[in-house]
Symmetry: C2
Subunit: 151 residues, 2 copies
Amino acid sequence: MGKSLESTKGSVWALFLTAHAVLVDAIERRLAQADLPALTWYDLLWALERAPGQRLRMSELAQKVVLSRSNLTRLVDRLAEAGLVSRERSEDDRRGAYAVLTEAGREMRRRMWPVYEAGIRQLFEGRLSEAEAETLGAALRRLLAAAREIS
Amino acid sequence: MGKSLESTKGSVWALFLTAHAVLVDAIERRLAQADLPALTWYDLLWALERAPGQRLRMSELAQKVVLSRSNLTRLVDRLAEAGLVSRERSEDDRRGAYAVLTEAGREMRRRMWPVYEAGIRQLFEGRLSEAEAETLGAALRRLLAAAREIS
DNA sequence: GGAATATGGTTGCATGTGCAACTATATCTT
DNA sequence: AAGATATAGTTGCACATGCAACCATATTCC
């Protein structure tokens, strides 16, 4: 049991990375084939849609979608270019800006969802037992919390 | 509609994505702080190190590290530039090329490992019980196999 | 109140990535 | 054996990302 480097746990990390890469890849391919934008776009649109007033400050949004601030700026640029979000300067803090979901943005997310969902179902959810899903969820939640605390 | 993302399983996928992003981010930061190359480099070096003769055909390597062929070409370019791998044309199939690990490459991987390992331990392994790790490993293995079969 | 500092967001630049077109060699078909 | 087709790898180009420097506004501290 005490084998440290090649233990069960060690290879789990490698599996985690590989599985992520392969799954995301497969799902992105489906979206692309359906002439839909990439996952990051969905993620951002969905984050906004859930937010009160369907708007978020740039830095909150960056946190939610796990992107650097500069990165987010450009992502929002592209989405704005495509008419899916708009920018609004903040009233109270005049340095700040909001990204706001547009009707076209809502619509796009709605169009993307079925394809995305089918992918998730077929490649991920459908392969996990209820129990596994539960364990996995709990573990991931803990990992996430810990990582956020530390870094 | 988007509701499924709020079911147990659905949100597990979201967690999976977020946890991956945050963890990789944290580990990359550690490597960068230690003036070491990024994870992809490690991955490639390690793949080569395990391979017989410490060499792999470009396309095999691409598969192992889950990168598109073109992408791999450039990654190998950069590693070769840094002297960590070298290219060799294949004798039998003259279209083919091998990426071969150099001594400097082995050495670099050896230097990276402690930092990488510490990250994995602190952020991932250390947070999982033996049982969770086992469940997680089994699930990921299954997901990976399925995804590869399908796409 | 005004200099010093911190924060929100954007931008320049260098690097990384994806896709489709391309070159060279191998395989298949007849 | 010639021509069609497939495969290995690379390259051109457009787009995405990360980092550090930057501008503008807020906040702190004297």
